[in-house]
Amino acid sequence: MNVRLYVWQRLTAALMVPLVLVHVAVIFYATRQGMTAADILARTRGSIVWASLYGIFVAAAAVHASIGVHNVLTEWSPLRDRSAGIFATVFGTSLLLLGLRAVAAVVLS
């Protein structure tokens, strides 16, 4: 890990701290209120707030996790820095696409 990756990993971690708290609070609220999928979708569809919140969350998680995977691979696999970086980039891009697809599914009408 170099200083650039270090800064990005810390930055995304700081970003995710409040987002994780909001996410957990939303889960508790939705389950304790007995909300159905239709109830939830009624609130999220067309909402710029939910789209922004989870869009940022997904982007931060994809960057953060791919840097972590890169570190794990360089230390625990035979891959060297460059090849681990390629694998981690593919992994992070996949996370980003899957996450944004999920966000789109709940915010787009």
């Binding site: 890990m1 170099n2 200083v3 650039r4 570190n71 230390e75």
Partner: protein, 243 residues
């Protein structure tokens, strides 16, 4: 003082990377150090045993070995404090190539000092006035806290990140870089911060603190590395270093 009470069972690593532990019986004496035990074996039991030492008083950093699974300076380690049920297992330092028996090749260790720009870069000539350094200035206090490294390699042998990441510069080299970063007389910090901010530099450290735990000089390389992380991050955000 020299009363021989009983014997100590000592297993010593013999051979290079491929080798085995060989057991010897050494008279147990009061105030005996682990280095005394190794020396006894070499002088009285097996003159082909290879090991490294120089000062015998904890200054030169030559005699570090793995003693009962932990890296230690053997000249300042009393047998009474480490022997378990009259037994000692002594091997070469880990994370370094073995040359023979208890002697490791220290070149990777010192090459990383070079990579971390661990050499002082003078900013003045002999004709300039001597730089005045206040002992109570914050940079000098930070440098003083890390300066007493004896290059024994114990922290390098104890470090998990060194074991896992072949590019990692290691605690001693980064600790050295931190002392120079805080040295007002040094003129090499642009290159030094660049070197320790690269892949395998200070940001590879997981802060396991094994270096601090095992350092015979009670230094804290983890704190030095944390200082480098902060300093390089500031330099990177200001655009002073590129990666």
């Amino acid at each position: 003082m020299s009363d021989t009470r009983t014997d100590l069972t000592v297993s010593l690593w013999r051979g290079a990377e491929q080798g085995r532990y060989q057991t010897y019986s050494v008279p147990l004496r009061e105030n005996q150090t682990v280095l005394d035990v190794v020396t006894f074996v070499q002088r009285h039991l097996d003159p082909t045993l290879s090991y490294r030492f120089a000062c015998r008083v904890g200054v030169c950093g030559s005699c570090a070995m793995t003693v009962n699974g932990r890296p230690r300076w053997t000249c300042r380690t009393h047998v009474s404090s480490v022997a378990k049920r009259g037994r000692l297992d002594i091997g070469p330092l880990e994370n370094l190539p073995i040359i023979k028996d208890l002697v490791t090749d220290m070149r990777p260790f010192f090459e990383r000092w070079q990579q971390a720009k661990g050499a002082f870069v003078p900013s003045k000539t002999r004709r300039d006035a001597i730089e005045q350094i206040r002992p109570d200035s914050a940079p000098r206090i930070a440098a003083d806290a890390a300066i007493e490294c004896i290059n024994c390699g114990v922290c390098y042998a104890a470090c998990d990140t060194v074991r896992w990441n072949s590019d990692f510069l290691g605690p001693a080299a980064l600790n050295r870089a931190w002392t120079l970063v805080n040295d007002a007389r040094d003129a090499g910090n642009a290159e030094r911060l660049q070197a320790v901010a690269a892949s395998g530099g200070c940001h590879a450290c997981h802060s396991h603190q094994s270096c601090q735990e095992h350092c015979p000089q009670a230094l804290n390389p983890t704190a030095s590395i944390a200082g480098l992380k902060r300093r390089t991050m500031g330099a990177y955000l200001k655009g002073d270093i590129k990666v």
